[in-house]
């Protein structure tokens, strides 16, 4: 008996938790089975801890954080100046989960976690980030984020229409996948003309609640400058709106097709450039007056001003947003409310990111890499101080609830189940393949009570705050007690396979923890689980279902941390 246990332990440690854990379990099957049925085994043997089961916190590494590059030197220097200590570096288990969730909106599989944990390469964190940035899900996840900002939905109050939504989303996703330089990405949208179905980027001018020039100017300013013109003096806003006053729309013979274009005769602009008391002159947000030639598309003038390396908003807006997406808080906060009286918490840090971005020719992935590989990003979520300035200056990684789409995808991945999405209104009906990920959904009008309950962005205004990750009782009810989640757990073939697995109980528990929490259980947790199975007696399946349920409902699973 003892030998069987030993053998299994050896397999676990030697095949070292990499690659086919299931295969490893299978090999040990006959002996293990005999073992499971042994009635007299001492409870402690049930889950004898192995060396990979830590006794203390599974969240932090022992090493104190030290700056790794210019970015870290700025952050750590500022913290030192303020007398605040940074948190410790996070553990490998925390890092692998965090990096997957933050970079590709996807939970790592048990196997991916094992592979990472046993990797001895000191550069493994950097290597992982590079791999993740190249994954297809990177494009899915960040197209979701951009679709929030660009208001991609077919119905009220945006009314893009299903075909245009699909075309626009595909275009956005392709740009991100191919890492199109950000200045080109933005210029394409701002200057495009053509059919909403065939030149998808024109939908920028359709994905708005109002097509008044002032509303188009507001959308451009909010999205690409991070500012809110409605808070400006009225005059300034209407002067900027002149650049969008000759956008014109016309329908075609194709159902719901629409051409967006520059129309020199549109908006009756008598003698542009000539002082007209009725109409304001075209003035850029930095105060520069522009003489527009009659046949010149003013959108081009605006776009070229915007993407210029010296523009004070353009690079600042996007690097600050990416920072806030990855670190939970902007250097300017809120990231889409940039104004003189809302200064950055660390101007040098922001300026550094802007310089790097411009010097890299507007390479988005470079900024992601810069941040994700920094020590600042890799701090644990346990602050060393309760000083409120610690969060403002990024002294720790803030805990945040998973977004609706990321959460349901994670639940599907854990249980090996799928979700069904369709949109019967408006026509043409939209049906989503059953194996599609929720982060890859193009249309915010797809009906889903789960996504609504968990705060998916309605994509009505393009503001970051539209996405709501606040926890609610209704969400807790759903996860704790709905038939939806209950069915996912109880009817999951994947969990069934794991639970009925012929491996050692400890291997099964390891697999569950790796699958759900992306780490091994601690020794304390093993004890709790042992007691659970003990009291369950022969109802091991029931105990296992309860264990999965508890892990799925834990704060740790439901948050990025």
């Amino acid at each position: 008996m003892k030998k069987a246990w030993l053998a299994a332990t050896v397999v676990l440690l030697a095949v070292p938790m990499i690659a086919q854990p299931v295969g490893a379990a299978k090999k040990a099957a006959p002996k293990a089975k005999a073992n499971n049925q042994a009635p007299k085994r001492a409870p402690s043997a049930f889950v004898e801890p192995a060396p990979h089961h830590v006794a203390g916190s599974p969240y932090e590494g022992a090493a104190p954080a030290a700056p790794g590059g210019p970015l870290d030197r700025l952050v750590f220097g500022k913290l030192e100046e303020l007398g605040l200590g940074p948190a410790n570096l996070c553990s490998d288990g925390v890092f692998v989960r965090r990096a997957y969730l933050d970079t590709i909106g996807t939970l790592p599989t048990a196997q991916e976690v094992r592979t990472f944990l046993v990797d001895q390469n000191p550069n493994k964190r950097r290597i992982l980030i590079d791999r993740l940035l190249a994954r297809e899900e990177f494009a899915d996840y960040w197209a979701m984020k951009w679709s929030d900002l660009l208001r991609v939905k077919s119905e009220f109050p945006i009314n893009l229409w299903p075909n245009a939504v699909q075309a626009y989303h595909r275009w956005i996703r392709t740009c991100l996948k191919e890492n199109l330089p950000y200045d080109k990405f933005v210029r394409e949208m701002l200057t495009a003309s053509g059919s909403n179905f065939r030149v998808p980027q024109v939908n920028f001018y359709r994905a708005v609640q109002s097509r008044e020039p002032s509303a188009l100017a507001q959308a451009a300013a909010l999205t690409f400058m991070g500012v809110r013109p409605e808070a400006w003096p009225k005059e300034k806003w209407s002067e900027m709106a002149v650049f969008f006053s000759q956008v014109s729309y016309k329908s075609t013979l194709e159902w719901k097709e629409e051409i967006v274009m520059f129309d020199p005769n549109h908006a009756a602009q008598p003698a542009r450039g000539v002082a007209d008391p009725q109409r304001p002159a075209a003035v850029l947000p930095d105060g520069t007056k522009i003489q527009l030639a009659p046949d010149q598309d003013p959108r081009v003038v605006f776009a070229d001003w915007l993407i210029d390396a010296k523009n004070p908003w353009f690079a600042r807006n996007i690097v600050n947003r990416i920072w806030s997406w990855l670190l939970g808080r902007g250097i300017i906060h809120e990231p889409d409310d940039i104004r003189p009286d809302n200064p950055p918490s660390d101007p040098k840090l922001l300026a550094y990111l802007e310089r790097e971005f411009v010097a890299s020719q507007y390479d988005l992935k470079r900024i992601y890499r810069l941040i994700l590989t920094s020590q600042t990003y890799q701090l644990s979520s346990m602050p060393k101080t309760d000083d409120p300035r610690a969060s403002v200056h990024f002294a720790f990684y803030p805990v945040r609830r998973l977004e609706a789409e990321v959460l349901i995808d994670a639940l599907c991945q854990i249980t090996g189940t799928t979700e069904q999405y369709s949109s019967p209104i408006p026509e043409p009906f939209t049906f989503i393949p059953e194996d599609a990920r929720s982060i890859a959904l193009a249309d915010a009008s797809i009906t889903s009570s789960f996504l609504e309950n968990f705060g998916r962005s309605p994509r009505d205004t393009g503001r970051e705050a539209e996405r709501n990750n606040r926890p609610t009782a209704a969400q807790r009810l759903h996860l704790l007690n709905s038939s939806h989640i209950q069915r996912k757990i109880e009817q999951s073939g994947k969990l069934q396979y794991l639970l009925q697995g012929k491996g050692q109980p400890r291997d099964v528990i390891d697999d569950l923890y790796l699958t759900i929490l992306s780490r091994f259980p601690t020794q304390e947790e093993l004890k709790v689980v042992a007691a659970l199975f003990q009291s369950a007696g022969t109802n091991r399946r029931g105990a296992a279902v309860d264990l999965v349920w508890a892990l799925i409902n834990s704060a740790e699973f439901l948050h990025r941390h």
Binding site: S57, M382, S448, L480, N481, V528, D546, L547, N553, H559
Partner: protein, 450 residues
């Protein structure tokens, strides 16, 4: 037909996760930007209104007016089939269909509107009209009555229940009858489950096959394994998360969810409602309004009788008769009918002339030109008939009543100003009910029974 059915199935699929959407916002603030006006529109609620709640009995598919509340025995076999022997009610001169003997004894409590009309014969469009009072099309999707009532009489108006203010038993009605531009927080909470089962498994509140004991054990296990939560006791997001959990368990294990526990009622009463999904849903509806829930919809499927019409009537009408008659009786005995509007209606009626020819072979089609609705309680007088259809039930003969007329009348009784304003996300000027100036036809509110 086939398309229509599969489309409806599709719409119901989203249901599974509908655990108390509205509850979401009871606990905190409105999500940024999605609903601009968190408060009321300019129209406000009168505190001393007669009606406090509405029970909407919604007959999805469209019930035949001839076979229920507007019998036309003189029209002959082509119109009535064998259901040509209407029965008298406890009010002189009012006759109802022969399959409604129990409701016949309750006619003093309700009024029959026999001149409902909107002229639309498509399910979704007609359902939208009957439940919003507005013609479909245009940029805005308007909220249905339940969403408007939950706006004006829900959490904004001092309702404090844990149960969301707008509940649908048991499956939601689909997107043409939802919150429209008011947004997600005014959507109904669809219970799911089946109240006729031994345990009514209300989505999120009562889990099938999990005893209270196991619920408690699970919660203990959850806390024992909550390593991150214990490590980060002071974290504000995790504290908010814990508060949300406490709220959820008030419904799962506390008193909050007991409203759905029908074993608290006597067997006699449960039997008299009928041990059917509809009958027991009526009982749950009474329990909900008893606890102050302002709007309950019983979404009653199965009335789209293109084929096998008469067989379906013989099966379903007795079930409806029992449940609805007991509901009226029960509400009366508990003194609740005075403050509860019961509104019986489908999206339209059915073709008065029976389609005897194949493939229908005795069916009735969609019919929006004239149909019936029934209202009781909450300030509506009983024992009356409003309007009339012609001798064959094919057209309005007298006093047309449009959906907006009925809706405005209910709002008036509920103390909601029909001429008030709804909060619109773009700040547009939108009235609670449409004005004639908006091009909507109106026959006027139902003053004769108010």
């Amino acid at each position: 037909m086939k398309t229509a059915i599969s489309r409806r199935d599709v719409m119901c699929r989203g249901v599974l996760g509908a655990a108390g959407l509205v509850l979401a916002d009871r606990m905190g603030t409105v999500p940024g930007g999605s609903v601009k006006a968190a408060g009321l529109g300019e129209g406000s609620t009168r505190a001393n209104a007669k009606a406090k709640s509405v029970i909407q009995i919604w007959l999805w598919g469209g019930p035949s007016h001839l076979d229920t509340f507007d019998p036309k025995p003189a029209a002959g076999y082509d119109y009535c089939g064998q259901l040509d022997k209407p029965i008298p009610t406890n009010i002189d001169g009012i006759m109802v269909g022969e399959l409604l003997p129990l409701l016949a004894k309750q006619a003093d409590k309700y009024s029959i509107i026999r001149s409902m009309t909107h002229g639309v014969n498509a399910h979704e469009t007609a359902a939208y009209m009957v439940q919003t009072g507005r013609p479909p099309g245009g940029r805005d999707v308007y909220p249905c009555v339940g969403a408007v009532v939950s706006l004006f009489k829900g959490y904004n108006a001092g309702y404090k229940g844990l149960i969301p203010p707008y509940v649908v038993l048991t499956q939601p009605q689909g997107r043409f009858s939802e919150a429209g531009f008011l947004g997600g927080r005014y959507k109904p909470f669809a219970t799911g489950g089946d109240p006729a089962q031994a345990r009514f498994a209300v989505e999120g509140v009562v889990a099938q096959g999990i005893t209270d004991e196991r619920q408690k054990d699970r919660r203990t296990l959850l806390h024992k394994l909550d390593t991150l939560g214990r490590t980060m006791k002071d974290d504000q997001s995790l504290q908010a998360f814990q508060e949300a959990e406490d709220g959820a368990y008030e419904l799962i294990l506390g008193d909050g969810g007991k409203v759905f526990d029908l074993t608290q009622e006597t067997n006699e009463l449960r039997d008299s409602y009928g041990r059917t999904t509809f009958g027991q849903a009526c009982l749950v509806a009474r329990r909900l309004v008893e606890r102050g829930v302002p709007y309950v919809t019983i979404n009653y499927n199965g009335w789209d009788t293109h084929k096998q019409h008469f067989q379906t009537m013989r099966r379903k009408l007795p079930e409806m008769d029992r449940g609805m008659a007991t509901l009226l009786q029960d509400l009366t005995e508990r003194g609740l009918l005075d403050s509860t509007i019961v509104w019986w209606s489908g999206e339209f009626g059915r073709t008065p002339k029976v389609q005897w020819e194949p493939p229908w072979s005795g069916g009735r089609g969609h019919y929006g030109r004239v149909f019936s609705a029934v209202v009781a309680g909450g300030g509506f007088k009983g024992g009356r008939v409003v309007g009339a259809s012609d001798e064959k039930g094919e057209d309005v003969k007298d006093r047309p009543v449009y959906p907006c007329d009925l809706i405005a009348s209910m709002y008036e009784l509920l103390g909601i100003d029909p001429d008030g304003k709804l909060p619109h996300p773009q700040g547009l000027d939108v009235r609670v009910t449409p004005a004639v100036a908006e091009g909507v036809t109106s026959g006027g509110r139902l003053k004769e029974i108010m």
